[in-house]
């Protein structure tokens, strides 16, 4: 087991290097110039601009630039933002908690909705409940998050006036009212994100459950007279959840990057919103850092999924 984890860790390293090369290549091939703003500034003569370029190493050969870039990236030294002039890592530290809070709660909510509904749907296959649930799930993942988000604002903010459409990190209401304010403003972003995830996950839980329900070991459990609750909850569900947990781990980075859209709609000050602003401001160090962080998350959760699968399913061999 330990050797398996180490081997998986070792194979994750070339993947990370390859991804960092892709990100760097995209930026190196791009026609934009980080100093293009200076070119428009009449008080900066071309010679000074050239000297700035040289001091930043922008004219060095690409492999040299990559090596320098990658070595600092892997040390989490992301440089300074072109806009705020502050270290990028500070910006990330400032934004990451909000993103993790929103996408984490959305993810939890999605799991809490998807698993019970998926199981019940499979147990009562072709019943009214199953039909309604699968139809809703189908609708759920056919509606992209930005469409649901806008429709939610239209309904709950503009028509009904129940929920705020803008997420503020600077709420200063004290006490219980403040807590309620904080929860209230998170309801829409979390629900929108959770709905999409829950829809996909529910279909998966249902399929996995259906595959197990008709197997011999479930029939055996019934034949020896176990209560139906135990047959489903203790025997079928446990086995059905093995692939589900892998899918959950695999889709986690998707939830975090998916938050780019929700954060943009509800003006949540998280990583996704930071990425969009940085792209609009031509703020290369921030863009690189966020894309790189997202890649690390994807690789990490791929690894977690593999390991969990190995731990949970004894049929997998590690030789």
């Amino acid at each position: 087991m330990g050797r398996y984890i180490i081997r998986r860790l070792v194979t994750a390293i070339p993947t990370l290097i390859a991804i960092s090369m892709v990100i760097f290549a995209i930026l190196a091939l791009a026609p934009g110039d980080p100093l293009s703003d200076l070119a428009l500034n009449p008080s900066v003569p071309p010679e000074v601009r050239q000297r700035i370029r040289e001091s930043m190493g922008l004219d060095d050969p690409i492999p040299v630039r990559y090596a320098r870039w990658a070595s600092s990236m892997f040390q989490l030294d992301f440089g300074y933002s072109f806009r705020t002039r502050g270290p990028v890592i500070d910006l990330l530290k400032q934004r990451l908690p909000t993103t993790l809070y929103i996408s984490g709660s959305a993810f939890l909510l999605a799991i809490l909705i998807a698993i019970p509904i998926g199981v019940l749907s499979a147990v009562r296959q072709y019943s009214v409940f199953d039909n309604v649930a699968t139809t809703l799930a189908f609708i759920g993942f056919s509606l992209p998050t930005f469409a649901t988000g806008l429709l939610f604002i239209l309904l709950f903010t503009i028509k009904l006036g129940w929920l705020p459409s803008i997420y503020r990190s600077t709420l200063d209401t004290e006490g219980l009212a403040g807590v309620w304010e904080r929860i209230r403003q998170a309801i829409m972003p979390v629900t929108v994100l959770a709905m999409f995830q829950a829809a996909a996950l529910m279909r998966f839980v249902r399929a996995s459950m259906l595959e197990n329900i008709h197997q011999d070991y479930v029939r055996t459990a019934r034949a020896k007279g176990l209560a139906e609750r135990n047959v489903i909850g203790k025997h079928a569900l446990r086995n059905a959840l093995i692939p589900v947990i892998t899918i959950i781990a695999l889709s986690l980075p998707g939830v975090i990057t998916g938050a780019v859209v929700t954060e943009q709609i509800f003006k949540v000050p998280g990583m996704g919103a930071l990425l969009i602003t940085a792209i609009q401001n031509n703020d290369t160090p921030v863009v690189m850092a966020i894309t790189f962080m997202f890649s690390i998350l994807v690789v990490f959760f791929n690894l977690v999924a593999d390991v969990i699968y190995g731990v949970l399913d004894p049929r997998i061999k590690y030789s």
Binding site: T15, A18, I19, V22, I23, I26, L27, A30, P31, G32, F138, I139, F141, S142, L143, P144, F146, A147, L150, L151, I153, L154, I158, P253, T257, G258, V260, V261, Q264, I265, L275, I276, I279, Q280, V287, I290, T291, F294, S295, L297, V298, V299, N302
Partner: protein, 318 residues
């Protein structure tokens, strides 16, 4: 030979008759079988109908519909739904119905073309990997794994931002972003197809009919294209259908975030991007484009679901 009994003649006659009856009853190919199964899936058939309507409307609509999607008229700004403007007008007084029709043309075209790129690339990689095995296989699968590990949305945003302007300069407002989007969405979505094709090829390689084809001296390309590929197409067709839906979502997400098509080119996502600032006074600007995306993606997903049932040999009923 002469003393064949009457009974024998009769029984062989009956067998021949039975055979004839079976043959004339219906000679079903894989595809007619699939069609038979597909028709039973009511929602999938509904999806085909809605999708056909959408395609016809977006192709013929801009020709038939009298309103111009480009005429700016501030006296008609953000009008609600009426007979002359079935979807209202936008902030610049342009007819929204005309813009939704035109936008649908672009959104659907991006979806289909990006799917073709993904399928072509995925099938090629998967077929090479599955057919040749060994080093080719492990190298190509490594590549596939790496592409799966890429954070798609941030990379799409990054690449769109960096390359869009220069492509607009070269190919114009519509074609430039179109080519870039199709390439980017295609290149980030081929991996599931490659895995499907590889898996099918691996199992097909061991089948007797491939061995037979080898024995009669069929060359490699005819084995790949004539014998193996058609048999591996079932799951690929399903994946292709679903890929159109996800490509439409990708395009509209990027356009919604302001990094897809430029504001002058209306696509469904782009229309939603403009609508955000006018949500309170003109909710129809949100509802109609969102509804179109939803209808298109939902019907595509149902068609994919129907095809999955139809092309799955385990589910085929006599």
């Amino acid at each position: 030979m002469a003393d064949v009994s009457d009974a024998q003649v009769q029984s062989s006659g009956a067998a021949a008759l039975e055979m004839g009856r079976l043959a004339s009853k219906k000679s079903r190919s894989l595809w007619s079988d699939a069609w038979h199964q597909f028709r039973k899936h009511t929602l999938a058939v509904g999806g085909v109908v809605v999708l056909t309507l959408l395609i016809v409307a977006t192709l013929l609509g801009p020709i038939v519909w009298p309103e111009n999607m480009k005429t700016i008229d501030f006296s008609k700004s953000t009008l609600g739904v009426s007979l002359s403007h079935p979807m209202g007008t936008d902030d610049l007084g342009r007819d929204l119905f005309a813009r939704v029709l035109w936008g649908g043309r672009i959104s659907l075209a991006v979806g289909v073309t990006a799917m073709l790129v993904a399928i072509l690339f995925g099938t090629l990689i998967g077929a090479l990997s599955g057919f040749f095995g060994g080093f080719t296989d492990s190298a190509l699968m490594r590549l596939t794994d790496m592409f799966i590990s890429l954070p798609t949305l941030p990379l799409l945003l990054l690449a769109m931002y960096l390359f869009r302007d220069s492509l607009i300069g070269k190919f114009g407002q519509t074609l430039g972003p179109f080519l870039l989007l199709v390439f980017l969405i295609g290149i980030t979505n081929w991996m599931p197809v490659a895995r499907l094709v590889r898996a099918s090829f691996l199992s097909l390689k061991e089948k007797e009919f491939i061995e037979a084809a080898n024995c009669i001296g069929a060359n490699r390309s005819s084995i790949i294209f004539k014998h193996m590929l058609p048999n591996a197409m079932g799951p690929v067709i399903v994946a292709a259908t679903l890929a159109v839906g996800s490509a439409i979502i990708s395009e509209s997400t990027l356009s919604f975030l302001g990094l897809g098509f430029p504001p002058d080119v209306p696509t469904w996502g782009q229309l939603l991007n403009t609508s955000i600032n006018f949500m309170e006074i003109a909710p129809h600007m949100v509802i109609f484009p969102a509804l179109m995306i939803f209808l298109a993606v939902l019907s595509i997903n149902y068609v994919g679901d129907g095809l999955r049932d139809a092309l799955d040999p385990r589910k085929t009923t006599g």
